[in-house]
């Protein structure tokens, strides 16, 4: 477990106040699960909530951006959803024009690089996955790869941002199954994927939502078509079936223990200090055992 104790020294706090933390929040258009009406995506809204708390507590600069199809903007679904984010207390939000079916990756890469002007601490927050489209949750991984920044998934809390030896670090809490948390120290700039266990997003108010500015931006980058999106068949999402837990207990005590006990992981193994090939081999073996790969 990569648990590093968070060390905060006083000088870092002082420098934090001089160099404002810069946060970009990537927001997408969400859909209500029953009515499919456009709205803020829950995970992205939690990411924005986290950013706004950092703004309120330590004066962080928060910029939100969305990559999506431009064109007819007023009254569109996208505008309705973006206004939900503005209603949380943002003055403006950047909408990067992207033709339908194009890959957001290159555009976001350029947008985030262009924003990297100051040497101050920098964070990019986003929800772990989108509520529509591919929703694979891969974008932050690919983005962190192309930017060369760290990516931490399943973040629920940013505890601290501090500098040490000329570098900026953030201490975050990462959600693990069953309510467990682990504290991680990450060197900035970094991407944080926000988990559903993060704080609930604040109410989106009508007034700020109506007043907030949506600034449209055209980028120079040549747009690359999203091939996987074009090739994948899209269908409404269904809740993933759960594997039934079969309890063969004959008495109440055992049944209770089975219901209350932690799921024991059986048959797994922890690989440490192995070569990438050995690791890949182990993953493939597991996938074959589970019937995912044939």
């Amino acid at each position: 477990m990569s648990l590093e104790p968070s060390s905060v020294n006083s000088s870092s706090v002082a420098s934090a106040s001089t160099q404002a933390l810069n946060i970009d929040v990537l927001v997408s258009v969400g859909r209500h699960s029953l009515t499919e009406r456009p709205r803020r995506a829950d995970l992205d809204a939690r990411a924005l909530e986290l950013a706004l708390r950092l703004r309120d507590q330590r004066g962080a600069q928060v910029n939100a951006c969305h990559v999506g199809e431009g064109g007819q903007r007023a009254g569109s679904d996208t505008e309705a959803a973006l206004r939900d984010y503005l209603g949380m207390g943002l003055e403006h939000l950047t909408w990067i024009d992207a033709p339908q079916g194009s890959d957001a990756l290159g555009l976001l890469d350029e947008h985030l690089r262009a924003g990297q002007v100051s040497a101050g601490p920098r964070l990019v927050l986003c929800g772990m996955r989108a509520e529509q489209g591919e929703g694979s949750g891969l974008l932050p991984f690919l983005l962190s790869e192309s930017l060369g920044w760290a990516y931490v998934p399943a973040v629920v809390e940013v505890e601290d941002v501090a500098s040490e030896d000329g570098h900026w670090y953030t201490t975050v809490l990462q959600a693990l199954p069953r309510g467990q948390r682990r504290r991680l120290r990450v060197r900035l700039p970094a991407l944080l994927g926000i988990d559903a266990a993060a704080a609930q997003p604040r109410q989106s108010a009508f007034g700020p939502a109506r007043r907030g500015r949506i600034e449209q931006r055209q980028l120079e980058t040549s747009v690359i078509a999203d091939e996987s999106l074009a090739n994948w068949p899209l269908q409404p999402a269904k809740p993933r079936p759960k594997r039934l837990k079969i309890v063969t207990a004959t008495n109440a005590r055992d049944r209770f223990k089975a219901a209350a006990a932690k799921a024991e992981s059986t048959g797994g193994k922890v690989l440490q200090d192995v070569s990438p090939e050995q690791g890949a081999e182990a993953v493939l073996t597991l996938l074959k055992e589970e019937g995912v790969l044939r």
């Binding site: 029953l34 009406r37 709205r39 207390g89 109410q203 108010a205 009508f206 700020p208 109506r210």
Partner: protein, 669 residues
Amino acid sequence: MLNTLLPMLLLAVLALAVVGAARRIALWRRGRPSPVPVLAGLMAMPRRYLVDLHHVVARDKVFANTHVATAGGFVAAAALLLVVYLVPLPGSVETVLEVLLLLFSATMFVGARLVAKRRRHPPARLSKGPWMRLPKSLQAFSASVFLIALANLGLLPEGLISGVMGWALAAVLLVALGLGLAELLLGMTWGGPMKHAFAGALHLAFHRRAERFSTRKSDREGKVHRSTGLKALNLEDETAPLGVATPEDFTWNQRLGFDACVQCGRCEAVCPAFAAGQPLNPKKLIQDMVLGMTGRSDAAYAGSPYPGKAVGEHQGNPSGPIVVEAGGALLDADTLWSCTTCRACVEECPMMIEHVDAIVDMRRFMTLEQGQTPGKGSEVIDNLIATDNPNGYAPAARMHWAADLSLPLMRDLGQVDVLLWLGDGAFDMRNQRTLRALVKVLRAAGVDFAVLGDEERDSGDVARRLGDEATFQRLAKANIATLEKYRFQTIVTCDPHSFHVLSNEYGAFGGHYRVRHHSTYIDELMAADRLSLRSWKGGSVTYHDPCYLGRYNGEYEAPRRVLTALGIELNEMQRSGFRSRCCGGGGGAPITDIPGERRIPDMRMQDVAETGAELVAVGCPQCTAMLEGVVDATAQVRDIAELVADALVSEDASGKERAARPQVVEVSP
């Protein structure tokens, strides 16, 4: 000496009073504009005072008479005093006026004695402080005027008005009169207990809801205009304000209305939130609005505080925020969110102050600008935005409760007599029983009806009371657009909240309908002899008036007629009719859920228990839910529709019964 000093004193007091009036008017005018007909208002004022205001005051007969004697005596005596001492008059006229002065000051003195008597052991609802000295000032004024008139008429013994005694008496009388005038005339415009008279008169003249004072008798009886619908916000204009953030964001006549408060505490005595120990007292709220105008602290407030909140910790700011998250500003947010919008305070207020309007205005700012709807408020609003119902059910599930009833849909029929508005109770298993009963009754009466089905949306009541005017207006416009597609004569609903919104609040958006609460409609069906019913066999029954049916819409009689027609002898609660106590379910109060010492529905069920009734008849899904949620209740909760449905004689039997009934035959004499 009297005759030279008195006119000077009067002139000085008058001049100072005018200066005070100008300052106070300037203070009110710092609010937002609100156009009112000035002349017509002033002309209508005496009638509004003598008829409408007195109608409320007269609910307390003893005090009404006291007030008539005191106020009437004062107005007449003061006017005569000014005429006699400031206008040169021929001797004979002056004598007549002096005699009248004697008469009115005596009347006023009697009134003032009665006021003093009431103040000896004042009920908790009355404010103390400066109000305790008012009877003394009233007596000082009336007694000194009486003696001055006596002296002028030469009716005082010679020994008293000559020599040293004369000087002493003159001095005493002038001081007493001066004190009286300071309280009664200066106090009117410079602030003090008598401010209510000056502000109150103008408040009646420039009331924001002039239609409350309709001169038509039918309106006064509450059948047509009760003017209970909330005023719409202008959302088209992006610069228009969204609710009230600072005391100066109220309209000028709302500010004037706050100043009219006489701190009689009738609102406090009926407020369910106050009784439950939630941090709200309508009287204190209005006094806080007054403090907000001048920016003072509430330390000098001498009435009951908000339960659980000490006096002296809050400070107003004329152009600063009313509510600050950290507290310490004029109000705390939980005070605003404790209100159930039951309108009991407005109904009781002799000065016609609109507490609920002010509360909703402030809630609007908190929801629309600050996004700080407490409790489950934001979740409910999000649900209304996403699913058109407050609990986030799938809109397509709205008709699941009636899967076996094969209800006719408007979509299929297009035109019917009665549109049955289901309300969000359609998702609630308890209310579904009421709805099924109502459908049974409508079918038994052969009513041509249909429902909107999945096309129906929440009426917007909860959103609006939670301050989310934007969601309310979206829902209202969507519902109006749906209703426009179909033809029907009447909308019938078993939800008084939908009833109120449909009939009183959709008008501002172009939706004008004939709406009937199901109790009214069943009453009409019974009057038309379209239902045959068995008579009631159960035990003792009482009826709980829903606020949104009674106080909001003046319907107290129809539900009682229906119950009586069933053969039920109603065992009325002490607080029923226009004084009915709220169930605690209105105004989004169960959603914001501000903690108190007791629960409002528990108190209401206690009211029921005091009648000894075994069953409480209700006419509102909210009331049903709130009252049924009471633990260890002594009475069952049944909707009127259920009682009627249970009493229906089945169709075959009814056919026989009808045939057996003697026909009415015209007999020639």
